[in-house]
């Protein structure tokens, strides 16, 4: 990665602005002394770790914004799934042992980037009846609590995640 490319400077600037906004929100003190402390701290953190986030900096900013927007939509959908998951656990807890068919299954994913994989693993854990146990390469090892949730793994969720990050014009 070219450290001195202008786009990199843009990301560094955004990183600093984001940090400083959280500083102001969390401190709540707007006098010169505390703001100066904030500038110094955020500056040091930016200098040390600005290249931790967003490894692919060749993407234009407009893609990032579009992805962020779609990600928000996805999180909204996921929250609905979380509610369903809890209702499901509640039902199983009341029905007891006989309604469970615990099993560990494999799911091979087509998702590529680390962030997509992280998002997919967390989504599996949050949706009804399935928890990610392990990821080795493209293989997800998933503990499913009954047959129905084992059969419903992947599918729509994986497509939704792939759609968040696909480049525009496709």
């Amino acid at each position: 990665m070219d450290q001195r490319s202008p786009r990199n400077r843009l990301y560094t600037g955004l990183f600093f602005v984001g940090l400083f906004a959280s500083w102001v929100a969390f401190s709540g003190l707007l006098d010169a002394f505390h703001l100066a402390l904030g500038v110094v701290s955020c500056g040091i953190v930016t200098w040390l770790s600005a290249d931790l986030l967003f490894d692919d900096r060749t993407q234009p900013l407009s893609w990032r914004i579009r992805q962020g927007w779609r990600l928000l939509g996805y999180v909204g959908w996921l929250l609905g799934q979380v509610v369903l998951a809890n209702v499901f656990v509640f039902k199983l807890a009341i029905a007891g042992r006989r309604s469970l068919q615990p099993q560990i299954i494999r799911h091979r994913t087509t998702l590529q980037s680390d962030f997509e994989k992280f998002l997919f693993a967390n989504s599996i854990t949050l949706t009804p009846g399935t928890v990610t146990m392990k990821i080795l390469g493209d293989d997800y090892f998933v503990h499913a609590i009954d047959d129905v949730s084992a059969a419903g793994l992947g599918g729509e969720m994986e497509r939704r995640i792939a759609r968040i990050f696909e480049p525009p014009g496709r």
């Binding site: 959280s22 929100a25 969390f26 709540g28 999180v75 979380v82 509610v83 998951a85 809890n86 656990v89 509640f90 199983l92 807890a93 009341i94 007891g96 042992r97 469970l100 068919q101 615990p102 099993q103 560990i104 299954i105 494999r106 992280f118 693993a121 967390n122 854990t125 949050l126 009846g129 928890v131 990610t132 146990m133 392990k134 090892f141 503990h143 609590i145 047959d147 084992a150």
Partner: protein, 123 residues
């Protein structure tokens, strides 16, 4: 008033789901299925309770434009919500993986797959 009521409602809903999680924790047969109850129940219930706190802090609509200290409290509570949502499922997976690596035997329904064991035997 309306916000307090709504906040209270969310907190109660969170407690109900916490109860469901606790029930599952007690009744499920093994470590792995118990993590289902703990991991999912924890996420939603903590979210509901913390969002309930945030709504409870808002007194009426003028809080949005005039009551800066309250806005700051709500921003902090929202940060907690975001971090719970990110970390809770991840720690659930980490615990299940650690359990497997440590040799905790899962209860598997007869006739259903346990691909993790098959892979270990193949190796």
């Amino acid at each position: 008033m309306i916000f307090s009521l709504l906040g209270g409602l969310l907190i109660v809903a969170g407690l109900v789901f916490f109860f469901g999680a606790a029930l599952g924790l007690l009744r499920f047969p093994d470590f792995y299925s118990r993590m289902h109850a703990a991991g999912k129940g924890d996420t939603l219930s903590s979210l509901l309770v913390v969002i309930g706190f945030a709504l409870h802090e808002l007194h009426d609509f003028s809080s949005f434009t005039h009551d800066w200290p309250t806005i700051l409290v709500i921003l902090k509570l929202s940060a907690i919500v975001v971090f719970i949502f990110l970390t809770s499922p991840t720690s659930t997976s980490a615990l299940m993986d650690a359990g497997w690596e440590d040799g905790v035997e899962p209860v598997i329904e007869p006739g259903r797959p346990n691909v993790l064991r098959d892979d270990t035997e193949a190796r």
